[in-house]
Amino acid sequence: MATYAAPIPEISAHRVQREPRGWTSWITTTDHKRIGIMYMVTTFVFFCLGGVEALMMRLQLGTPNNSLVTPTTYNQLFTMHGTTMVFLFVVPMMAGLANYFVPLMIGARDMAFPRLNALSYWLLLAGGIVFYASIFWNPPEAGWTSVVPLANSQFSPSGGQDAWIYLAHLTGISSILGAINFYVTIANMRARGMSWGRLPLFVWTILVYSVLIIFAMPVIAAAVTMLLTDRHFGTHFFDAANGGSALLWQHLFWFFGHPEVYIMVLPGFGLISEILPVFARKPIFGYKAIAASTVAIAFLGFLTWAHHMFAAPVPEAILVFVMLSSYLIAVPTGVKVLNWVATLWRGTIEFKTPLLFCVGGIAIFMIGGLSGVFLATFPIDWQLNETYFVVAHLHFVLMGGAVLTIFAGIYYWFPKITGRMLGEGAGRLSFGLMFIGILTTFLIQHVIGLDGMPRRVYEYDNVGHLALYNGISTVGSFIIAAGVLVTIINVARSLKRGAIAGPDPWRANTLEWFTTSPPPANNFDVIPRVRSYEPMRDIRREIERRSTGSPAPGGVTVPTGATQVGA
């Protein structure tokens, strides 16, 4: 493994001072790489917790009229599962990957505000602990959307609902601070020559992710504050009997909730756009179109929230407007997918694990994207919303757009983070199990929903083929779990026994591969000048030219780090 001898940068970064060691060095760190690792490990633990909750739900639904868990426990499980996966896994996992790699990819030595960065992480952890502490008392049970009046003090008197509110607050502040940090870092700390048109596409998506968070998160913060004061301080924001509006919650929640979908999947799209060209050994097809479509999706993402409310009592004009804006967002999304296919076209594709997770992610996301068109058509949505069809849709979107791409990122970047390669065989097995598991679990859920089974029900009667379909879905969920487990074992083994990666095992395109694996505390001693959106490729070509003495193709001379003194 990793037989390819990467070109060694002419001046490799070296350690100017001894790395701090021991657990106190982790608690007090402001190094973006260590904070990134803490983010990734923490969120992966929450991913496993959320996964266990999902498996318990699938066990309960494995047979009709099952009584494995009580109705109360079941409601708590899906509330914990949804909240965990959204607030404690996907969004902060993207922040973790970005924390580690954005400074490296843009040639910076750290984030703009290192201590603020540490605060972001600790607030996230605090939010997670407050939320999970509720399992020792009463976990929340009003769903991850906490729709009022069910979530108000009359119908959800337990402190679990308040734990959910504090989680939304703490992770929200964490995300906003992190987003400001990313934005400032990307806007100000790029390597010389890295214009907006040379920004790596993953960094583009993190920039847009940050803008989305800055606009969307304050809305949920306001909404949960109103819920908190309604619950405890006698206000009536959502109380129809006292002049408030129950529908207001749905508007505020989804005004945050829909951009949140793009907060979760856009960085995944960025990962695909980084990884495909590396393994197809071909430049990304339509760099500008991909960057522009990211921005277009983000903008349109703020105009479509009410498509979550087609069944609510809203005026017809809103239904029509939101249907059209939701259709519109399918255009830039479709453009991205076609650009990825075109990137593979006429390349020389190396089937390494990161590539497998990427193309699997695209296929899975396609199913979720297309089922989204059904849901955007409001008369069709009247039949499908709040059923298992929607459960299938959102899982195809998030499994394809977020989970599989995160796994692609893990396999792609593990060598940089640890200096060792992950096992390729185990990686393929993990991908195969997860891919088949996702199809088995969620394809059939479309049919379950079409047959009339609503979501968030703890049991169903044995009518039609519901028992068989739900059984299939339950089996699939355990296949996904097996796939995840294989990756966990792979990571644990490779930490000590993986093949040594070297600085650039994939012959990749972006600057994180310019430094050693793992990078030293200061990332780079020398930061190269950037001449294109594939700086490492330029550097490799330049080294090749100098060693063979032949002119670079196209006559471009690319100075490497040796000629530049770092800022």
């Binding site: 409601n75 119908f155 339509g286 296919v341 058509t377 009339g452």
Partner: protein
């Protein structure tokens, strides 16, 4: 295409057959399904083809293509055209889904605007303005249906039923959906889409059932611990049978109210009038 095709298709389509609006949604869904399948097969097919055809081989050189403006504009426009076509189709179908037709000749006799309990702003009525208006009240964890025919001027005394809604065949039934506590959603799949019952708001839908039969559904919006047990049945019967059922329901409710009145009076005499809550 043998007779296997319809049943295979039914596997992937929503429930329908109870009411024209459900049937129209089903046909709109099918068109969308065909378009989506074609797009999926084309795009994923192209990707799989590329993965097989262009896998790394000895001597293969990757083409260094960075984009193709014409192609990219082309597929952006193509995607937009497909969606515009879909939007036009949806608008064409919309009126048959949203607007109820007149009751059929075999339906129940209706007055123009009969027994509305609540002021309605956006309720859609048939062209002749006549529909059987039923108020659907969601409450944890039971559906209540209030029929027209209030015996008192303030709207009280109207016949009602729980869980099972009995309706006449061939009659346009207009539903006014409200909630007494949390958000619920009214849904009987074969009779059309679902509509939330939100406290403080009215939501409306309709159905028209041609033949006698029973249709089952359940609350489709998380409403609490027994959400899964909040069931609904719509029973369509011939108009004469419906009239008889409604009359009997009125008598039963009047009897029960009278009995409750007597019980309350007795209790009031025993423990003092102020201590008994009036309904």
């Amino acid at each position: 295409m043998g007779h296997l095709a319809p049943s295979l298709l039914a596997f992937f389509t929503p429930e329908s057959g109870g009411s024209p609006n459900a049937n129209q949604i089903d046909s709109l869904y099918k068109v969308t399904l065909y378009i989506a399948l074609v797009i999926f097969v084309a795009v994923v097919g192209a990707m799989i083809y590329a993965l097989i055809k262009f896998r790394a081989r000895k001597g293969a050189v990757p083409a260094q293509i960075r984009g193709n403006t014409r192609l990219e504009i082309g597929w952006t426009v193509a995607a937009a055209v497909i969606l515009v076509a879909l939007a036009i189709l949806t608008f064409a179908k919309l009126s048959s889904i949203e607007n109820p037709p007149d009751s059929g000749p075999g339906g129940v006799e209706l007055n123009g605007d009969d027994g509305l309990l609540y002021a309605s702003a956006e309720r859609k009525l048939p062209p002749d303005g006549k529909a059987l208006n039923i108020t659907v009240i969601g409450r944890q964890y039971l559906w209540q249906y209030v029929y027209p025919g209030a015996s008192e001027p303030d709207g009280l005394g109207a016949p009602y039923s729980y869980e099972t809604m009995v309706v006449p065949t061939n009659t346009t039934v207009s539903l006014d959906i409200v909630s007494a506590d949390v958000v619920h959603a009214w849904w009987v799949p074969e009779l059309g889409g679902k509509f939330q019952a939100v406290p403080g708001y009215h939501n409306y839908t309709w159905f028209k059932i041609p033949k006698p039969g029973e249709y089952h559904g359940q609350c489709a919006f998380l409403c609490g611990r027994a959400h899964a047990r909040m069931l609904a049945t719509v029973k369509a019967v011939p108009p004469a049978q419906f009239e008889a059922w409604l009359a009997r329901q009125k008598i039963l409710i009047a009897q029960a109210n009278a009995a409750a009145h007597i019980a309350r009076a007795k209790l009031g005499a025993q423990i003092g009038a102020g201590a008994v809550e009036s309904p």
